[in-house]
């Protein structure tokens, strides 16, 4: 390796006040322009990345099935396909909800997400309990917490019967917040 490569890291001669002043201006200009360029690229970039936060999904009622498909008193898991999912969502466009036919005309739909940390709760028919496999959360048939760490009852979705079909309001993952 040639060790005689010139060191260009600093200027050997003294600079005039004009040179210093010009340099100060050029420094500010360059830093300012770099900041401007960063903003031109950065603002849309950040906007693109955080866009899902602002993507408002209109409330849509999703059909779960005909009223006659469900037995009175039975709680069953029903698959819902998210109507506003992206075309490449594949199986992830699906969600599961727990639906109970309480009477001839009324239904209750529970979110399948445990309010502790979102794991899928299972309905245990014999015990009439929802149980969570992750941290042992247990809920009664009305969704109230029976045991374990869940801070809230199971979230209920709106249900309505329209033209003989059972429909629920759009399915989202309910987020339990602290403050």
């Amino acid at each position: 390796m040639n060790e005689n490569v010139t060191d260009h890291s600093c200027l050997a001669r003294l600079e005039t006040p004009e040179e210093l002043s010009r340099r100060g201006f050029l420094e500010k200009l360059s830093i300012g322009l770099a900041g401007f360029c960063a903003a031109v690229v950065g603002v849309p970039l950040i906007g693109f990345v955080i866009a899902p936060l602002f993507r408002k999904v209109p409330e849509q009622w999703v059909t779960l099935g005909k009223v006659g498909d469900f037995q009175v008193g039975k709680t069953v898991s029903v698959t819902v396909v998210n109507p506003s999912s992206l075309p490449w969502a594949g199986v992830t466009a699906k969600s599961g909800v727990w639906l109970r036919r309480d009477s001839e005309t009324s239904f209750t739909a529970f979110s399948a997400n445990c309010t502790h940390l979102g794991c899928p709760v299972r309905w245990i028919e014999g015990a009439e309990l929802f149980m969570c496999p992750c941290h042992g959360g247990v809920y009664y048939k009305d969704g109230k917490v029976a045991a374990g760490p869940p801070p809230l009852p199971l979230i209920r979705y709106g249900v309505r019967v329209e033209k003989g079909e059972v429909k629920i309001s759009s399915v989202v993952v309910p987020i339990t917040t602290t403050l």
Partner: protein, 477 residues
């Protein structure tokens, strides 16, 4: 010919500056920085394995919510070396976590975080957090049922961050639920964002190692005094220092080779973690568990007091991270030898014991109901008819067995009821079942009177068998 190669090398070296670039490899280091010092390089070697295998996997992996699972099935079952590569990537990640832990423990025990290497330690702590972030996001890219539900768990956890929790959760999910936008975000974070940040921080970490030098092994009684340390260190290197390459680096090379061999053998003989079911969120019989390096935190989430868990979930990791970051600020001079810092040994031991215990707890997950519990046999019930037999069957059908053990069968969430008949009276059993209590649901509204009677009869019959030597002759009664 030789002269031609030499001429080409000299030309290239002059124009590119290869020798100058490699010069730091020959920096002078303490001669006695031996086997304890190999963990840092080993971490970097594991990182390089991750980058190389990750790039290779990306040739076939499609980060789309609808196709990723199929590409993983292809990589695992059909692609030449695909299964092996997945194994290398998985065990490489495990090796990286283990090595960074060992490197950190060694640095802490040797007091190497003290003046003037405070920022070397701080950048290392940040690298630890990025490594765990890589581990978690990597598990999610294994886009199966566990991965999909783990995203929900991550979003729920982020939701507990005060004020911005909801926004953070939706940022993680890529919307209000899992869908097309979810996986590609984690792919971008795992493959571009975090590795980019890690390259920058590894560069900074290495620069700081060169700037402040590799710390000399501590000697009891030789304290760090910021006023004099640098001068003493220079004198030490002057007197007995050795060039890192090759005098000291050969140990790193040998240890690194052993590490890669271990990773390769595990990948070949055990293979990568099996893929779970497809990531279909409508299939609700899922049981998501994190990979082993985050299992201890999974256990912590189950064992925290429920009332303050919302706060602890965020504050505990934040507190640990902050404590690690400011360790050198709290204690930047004085003794380095662990023999004079027994609390340092205690901290490392306690951390290992705590993480180890939580890991074992996470592995066993006694708080989780046992959904696979089979009906009790007549032999276990101890009857083939009558109320105790009916009660034994109900014990399974009413999911009591999901949480309680009977002769080793069932769940571990609640107490073992094998000999409950010895401990509780009939009335107490009835009260417990009907009203619940503690961590047990009340079954009063879901049991018919005859079902309750049968269950109580079964539980009353659960008594420890009387051994012949314990039997009291009728005359003494």
């Amino acid at each position: 010919m030789k002269w031609l190669f030499k001429a080409v090398w000299l030309w290239l070296d002059d124009r590119v500056g290869i020798s100058v670039l490699l010069k730091p490899m020959k920096h002078i280091a303490p001669h006695d920085a031996k086997w304890w010092y190999v963990f840092g390089t080993a971490t970097m070697i594991a990182f390089i394995v991750q980058v190389a295998t990750g790039v290779a996997l990306a040739f076939s992996f499609i980060p789309s919510s609808s196709q990723a699972y199929e590409t993983l099935v292809f990589i695992t079952n059909d692609a030449p070396f695909g299964n092996f590569l997945r194994g290398l990537h998985y065990y490489g990640a495990s090796a990286m976590v283990l090595m960074i832990g060992a490197h950190m423990a060694q640095t802490f025990l040797f007091g190497s975080y003290k003046f003037p290497r405070e920022m070397t330690w701080a950048t290392g702590v940040l690298l630890l957090s990025f490594t765990l972030g890589m581990g978690f996001t990597g598990q999610l890219l294994r886009w199966d049922q566990t991965a999909a539900w783990s995203v929900v768990v991550a979003a729920e956890q982020a939701g507990r961050v005060p004020l911005i929790g909801n926004a953070l959760a939706h940022f993680i999910l890529g919307g209000e639920t899992i869908g097309g936008a979810t996986l590609s975000r984690f792919f971008a974070i795992h493959v571009f964002v975090l590795p980019g940040i890690m390259f920058a921080f590894i560069g900074l970490h290495l620069w700081l190692v060169l700037r402040h030098g590799i710390s000399e092994p501590p000697v009891a009684g030789k304290v760090v005094d910021p006023e004099t340390y640098r001068k003493e260190y220079e004198e030490l290197l002057e007197k007995s220092g050795r060039p890192f390459w090759p005098d000291l680096a050969w140990r790193d090379v040998i240890f690194g080779t052993a590490l890669i061999l271990a990773v390769a053998l595990l990948a070949f003989f055990i293979g990568p973690p099996a893929l779970d079911k497809p990531p279909d969120p409508s299939v609700l019989d899922a049981d998501p568990r994190p990979d082993w390096y985050l299992l201890w935190y999974f256990a912590l989430l189950a064992l925290m007091p429920a009332k303050i868990e919302g706060y602890l979930m965020i504050l505990v990791p934040l507190f640990i991270g902050m404590l690690l970051l400011i360790t050198p600020v709290l204690n930047h001079k004085g003794e380095r030898a662990s023999s004079r810092r027994p609390w340092a040994i205690a901290v490392v031991l306690l951390s290992v014991i705590m993480i180890g215990s939580l890991w074992i707890a996470g592995q066993r997950s006694p708080w989780s109901p046992n959904f696979q519990a089979l009906p009790l046999t007549e032999k276990v019930i101890g009857a083939s008819s009558g109320p105790p037999f009916a009660g034994g069957q109900l014990f399974h059908d009413k999911a009591c067995l999901n949480c309680h053990l009977i002769q080793g069968f069932g769940g571990r969430r609640g107490p073992d009821l094998t000999y409950i008949g010895d401990k509780l009276t009939r009335d107490n059993i009835v009260i417990r079942i009907v009203n619940g209590g503690g961590n047990m649901p009340a079954f009063g509204s879901s049991l018919k009177p005859q079902e309750l009677d049968a269950l109580v009869a079964f539980l009353e019959s659960r008594k420890r068998p009387i051994r012949p030597q314990d039997q009291v002759p009728p005359a003494q009664k």
